[in-house]
């Protein structure tokens, strides 16, 4: 019967569409190569800028290279404990292929130095509470999931910073 067929198709389309929507908005979808844990490192007394070396005086915060991890994590030493996935990259002396999730587009000029060092804004404002994060990032943690123009312009208006299009766009 064509009517049941139509209903079946409709249900199917809704289910598939709904799955896409949920997977896009719900939990994360990106798998990082190593089960990195921000909390244990922050609790151990590390500063954000020790690993994200550009966060205070660069445009890009940067994601640390493997030799940074090797300063503390040694494959043959029991402490700090080195999980297998990390040990693999350390032994092979290979860079960990981290997936960068926080990005702006090429036509936007954003600088960490300007916001972190000069304006004194906490990382948390834009990236959520990283200090308590026990799992690696599986999606961007911007307040609206992406660094859309609202995030920038709302704060700029509040702080009486320029909203000239040319300040951010290029």
């Amino acid at each position: 019967m064509p009517k049941t067929l139509a209903i079946l198709v409709l249900v199917g389309v809704t289910a598939i569409g709904g799955w896409f929507v949920v997977s896009a908005w719900g939990g994360g979808s990106v798998q990082q190569p190593v089960a990195y844990n921000h909390k244990v490192h922050i609790d151990a007394g590390m500063e954000c800028a020790a690993c994200h070396t550009g966060a205070e005086e660069g445009t890009h915060a940067g994601i640390p290279t493997t030799d940074k991890c090797a300063l503390c994590h040694k494959v043959d030493r029991p402490y700090p404990k080195t999980p297998k996935d990390l040990a693999f990259y350390l032994k092979a002396n290979k860079e960990i292929p981290w997936r960068q999730l926080h990005r702006t587009r090429r036509h936007v000029y954003f600088s960490h130095q300007r916001h972190v060092a000069l304006a004194g804004i906490d990382c948390e404002k834009c990236h959520g509470d990283v200090k308590k994060k026990t799992t690696p990032f599986d999606r961007a943690a911007f307040p609206d999931r992406q660094a859309g123009m609202n995030l920038c312009v709302d704060c700029h208006r509040k702080e009486k910073v320029t909203t000239d299009c040319m300040a951010c766009h290029r």
């Binding site: 600088s111 130095q113 000069l118 040319m166």
Partner: protein
């Protein structure tokens, strides 16, 4: 508040076109093709306008580098229906590519014909694709573009100055064409600073502007004796 402007001394310009190359490389100008060139639709924000007078072999040739004249009364901004192009508080005429709807009103309104429309998807063949300047957007098909005085260089210069607690120094913000000019015939700076080289030269008796009679008040000044 600075008001950025440029002076081009035609008595010094040799027409070597280093500025044209520097501009194209800095701002990711798509290469184009012979076919596109034949249609007159090659995009080069900075070009040399040759003016040949007399009859061969008794000719005089003027080589005139021309780019967006950064008008104080920019015709292009008056016709833009979406404010993608506007004059900002420092006098620079902006072009916000992602705001542009490609209506081409501004392209036609510009009396200098120095705004460019992307009729095709721009291409960077082979290795040139990896050699684009990451500080400048790759404009897409259907978008109008033009020279903005290498505004991306001002963004970083401003930040460096702010970090050191001062204002932008005149030698810190220089467009690519000025940097490349072998005879230093292009001078750039703050027109509102009475002591800057650019404002001194702009007041020279040799100074003139392109199509001055239109009242667009360009911030690019040319110098020529005779």
């Amino acid at each position: 508040m600075p008001r950025w402007g440029m002076v081009i001394d035609l008595d010094k310009c040799t027409g070597c076109q280093a500025c044209v190359v520097a501009c194209a490389a800095e701002t990711n100008a798509p290469l184009g093709s012979p076919d596109i060139a034949a249609m007159g639709r090659i995009i080069r924000w900075l070009q040399i306008l040759p003016k040949i007078e007399g009859e061969y072999p008794y000719i005089t040739a003027d080589m005139m580098p021309i780019m967006c004249q950064q008008c104080e009364a920019p015709a292009c901004t008056y016709v833009c229906p979406v404010a993608a192009t506007y004059r900002n508080h420092e006098g620079t005429v902006a072009q916000i590519y992602w705001r542009c709807i490609g209506c081409r009103y501004c392209v036609n309104a510009c009396p200098y014909t120095l705004k460019w429309f992307n009729w095709w998807k721009p291409e960077w063949p082979g290795e040139t694709a990896q050699a684009t300047n990451p500080d400048v957007e790759l404009r897409d098909k259907g978008v109008t573009e033009k020279c903005c005085f290498c505004h991306h260089r001002l963004q970083t210069a401003k930040e460096k100055a702010r970090a050191e607690g001062r204002t932008v120094r005149p030698d810190e913000y220089i467009p690519a064409c000025v940097e490349a000019c072998a005879t230093r015939c292009i001078v750039f700076g703050d027109l509102d600073d009475p002591d800057s080289e650019v404002s001194r030269l702009a007041r020279s008796p040799r100074a003139f502007h392109l199509l001055e009679e239109l009242g667009t008040k360009p911030k690019v000044t040319y110098l020529k004796s005779r």
